[in-house]
Every structure is written in structure tokens, then in C-alpha cells.
Amino acid sequence: MAFKDYYEVLGLAAGASQDDIKHAYRRLARKYHPDVSTASDAEARFKEVGEAYAVLKDPEKRAAYDDVVARGESGPGFQPPPGWDAGFEFSGRDFDFGPGMDQGDLLDALFRQQARGGQRAGRPAQGQDHHARVMIDLADAYRGAQRSISLRVPVLGPEGRVTMREHKLDVSIPKGIRAGQHLRLAGQGASGAGGGPAGDLYLEVNFNPDPLFRVDGRDVYLDLPLAPWEAALGASVTVPTPEGPVQLTIPPNSTAGRQLRLKGRGIPGSPPGNLYAIVKIALPPADSDAAREAYRAMGKSFAFDPRKHLGANVS
């Protein structure tokens, strides 16, 4: 465990009152809560703030911490007094990316199992439900996919000791799944007690960011650059889709921002989503005499004032 200045984490001086500590924690927790914040380091900051608060809010742990700091034992090999942060229950996060059970669920599971272990030979109880997260590519949502995931689950041994066991699963990700949806895998959660059934496993499915496509529900969006003459005269161009390239007809006089719909080429389903190609006009650079001459000829051919609507030329 690396030494952290918990006061600094909360933006406080060492003599801060318990009220100050609570206020600072509340403010920073709201700011960095991963469900609310978009900051890339929100998750790490939130954990850090939670860890600092767990120690400083408790007068005994705070005194122990202050004592360690005062004795100057805050070097890199800093070892906190054993058990001083026991019981710090970090809430149910599952944004650790990649599959795995989140710590809150894990602790809950431990406490439940321990509680259950106490009432030996009690009545049958269903095992706890577990939650994990799995990342797929957009193309996987078009075809369906298979993912091997590995969860670490707490298991209560015969002597009441809890050990971590690896739980490996091969999961079929169905075609048509959308970002943020959950899969329920019956009976893949914690095992039950006293002959009770096992809990379920919920897998939250999310998409890896895609360099080309943007996704909104079942609909998929793509920026489609066109040369000015393609947009003006119409053209037939090859457009990538997550299922492979297709040929798309560009109608004449297509303007920038126009959305060309490829019906049913979004994420499959009933009904399937659409794929929208959004027209962008790409100007070729005037970097040769021929290119400059072509632009000049173009200028002569049009009585075109792109700023007409601004009204500045009205005399």
C-alpha cells in the first residue's frame, strides 16, 4: 500500500474539522462519481477520495493515520496498522473495464456468505446475483460473438475461510445486442446455501470505441467525405459498413450535412436500425498550377456568392 496524503486528496489541511472532511468528501464524491463525471480519471479519483474519507471520517482511524504521519513513517514502504481500513466498503462499481466482478458486489457477497455461514444448516437460500461487464466490437453486434470471461468469486471454505476462485465462462453474445444492454445468465451467480439455487450473473455489454462508426441505439452513423464534383453531380461511391462495403448512390446537389440513409444497415433486430452516411465536402488542395487554374475556371463559371445571406454586400 503506497502512502497517500489523505488530507491533500480531500484538499484539506491536517487540522481540518470532521465537518470539513465530510463536506469536502461530499463535494468531491459528487464531482468524480463515475456515473456522473465524464473526466477520464473519474473512477480513480473517486476511489482515492473514498479511501481518504473512509480513514479520516473515523476518529480512531484518523488518529492512527495522524500518528503514522507524525512519526515520519510515510516513506515508500509505508505499512498502515493492520486492519485500520477493514470494513471500508467500496460501493458497487463495475466500470473497471474488462470482465470482472466489482468490489462492492464482492464484499457484499463475502458478507452474505459469512452471515450465511453463521447460520449453518439453516434453510435453503438462493445464491447472490453477480454483475460483470464485457466489451465487444460493433461488428460483433452485427454477427453475434463469443467471449470467454473469467470472474473471481469468493467461496466459503469448510472452516469458514473465504478464498477466491476463478470462474471461467464462455458466453454467446447474441446478434443485435446494443450498448448498455444486459445479458442474464441463469444460475451463473454465487452458489446457494443449504440446497438453495445459485444466483444469476448479469453481464453488461458495451462497445469498444470505433474509429469510423458512431452508434446511437440501433442506428449507426458514418461521416462520408465527398469531392465537390461528386456532391454536385452525383456519384456512386463505396461505403464501409460494419458488415462490409456497400455501393451507395449519391444524388446530385448533395450538400454538406445531408444524411443518406442505408435502410436496415444498422444493428440487426426487429426492426433493424439504419446506417446514416453524413455528407462532408472535402476540398482538394490548390497545390499545383493545374489545380489553381481549375479553381479559377470554376470561379468564372459561377455567379456564386456563398455569403449572400449575410447581407454584407447589399449596397
Binding site: R26, A29, R30, H33, D35, V36, F46, G50, S91, G92, R93, G104, D105, D108, R112, Q126, Q128, D129, H131, Q146, S148, K168, L169, D170, V171, S172, P174, I177, R178, G180, Q181, H182, L183, R184, L185, A186, Q188, G199, D200, Y202, L203, R214, D216, G217, D219, Y221, D223, I278
Partner: protein, 105 residues
């Protein structure tokens, strides 16, 4: 059987194929019925059905309930505050989706 010798598991898509009972929702969120009832009273969850025994929650309730649980635990927000936060978060998500669609984010 798949490559690694483990049976390939097929799950149900919660948002499309699953309706949860009160007991199932409590179990999935690891929380007690009373808390879910408080959230229903705030309009945070809207089950169909007359009595708690008949209540059926849409699949999306799982996401909402778990988010509500995290907010109440981490930020110590009361049910009315959570209901407001969830509505605002939904609105922000919709606005972000529009930005993203336009390629602005």
C-alpha cells in the same frame, strides 16, 4: 462445447426479453423490498401490476435501480434526489447521443 472445453452459455437480453418481479429485482440489486418501494413511490421505477406480488419491472429497471443504488450509497442522496438525478442523467445521455451522432463529441 467450445474451444476451451466449457459449455457455451446463452443468456437472455434483459432489456428485451426479461420482465423482473419484485423479488428478482431485489436479488439482482442486492437490496431490500422496502427501498424499491420507496423508489416506486418517487416514480423512479414504474412497474406494471396492481399489488407488489403482481408487479413486473421492465428490463431497463435493472439499470435504473443499480444506478440509484450506487448514487444513494456513494453520495448519500435521498430517494427524491435520486429520482431527479436519474432524470437529469437520462437527459444528459440523450443530449450527448445527439452530439455524438453529429460527430461533435
Amino acid at each position: 462445447m467450445s474451444k476451451s472445453g466449457v459449455t457455451l452459455l446463452h443468456g437472455a437480453v434483459v432489456e428485451e426479453e426479461v420482465e423482473l418481479t419484485l423479488v428478482e429485482l431485489c436479488q439482482a440489486c442486492n437490496t431490500e423490498e422496502q427501498r424499491i418501494q420507496e423508489w416506486i413511490a418517487e416514480g423512479l421505477l414504474e412497474p406494471v401490476g396492481e399489488s407488489p406480488r403482481d408487479w413486473r419491472f421492465s428490463g431497463d429497471s435493472l439499470r435504473r435501480a443499480r444506478l440509484a443504488l450506487r448514487l444513494s450509497r456513494d453520495l448519500e442522496i435521498d430517494p427524491a434526489g435520486i429520482a431527479l438525478a436519474l432524470d437529469l442523467l437520462d437527459e444528459i445521455a440523450a443530449l450527448r447521443a445527439r452530439l455524438q451522432r453529429a460527430g461533435l463529441e
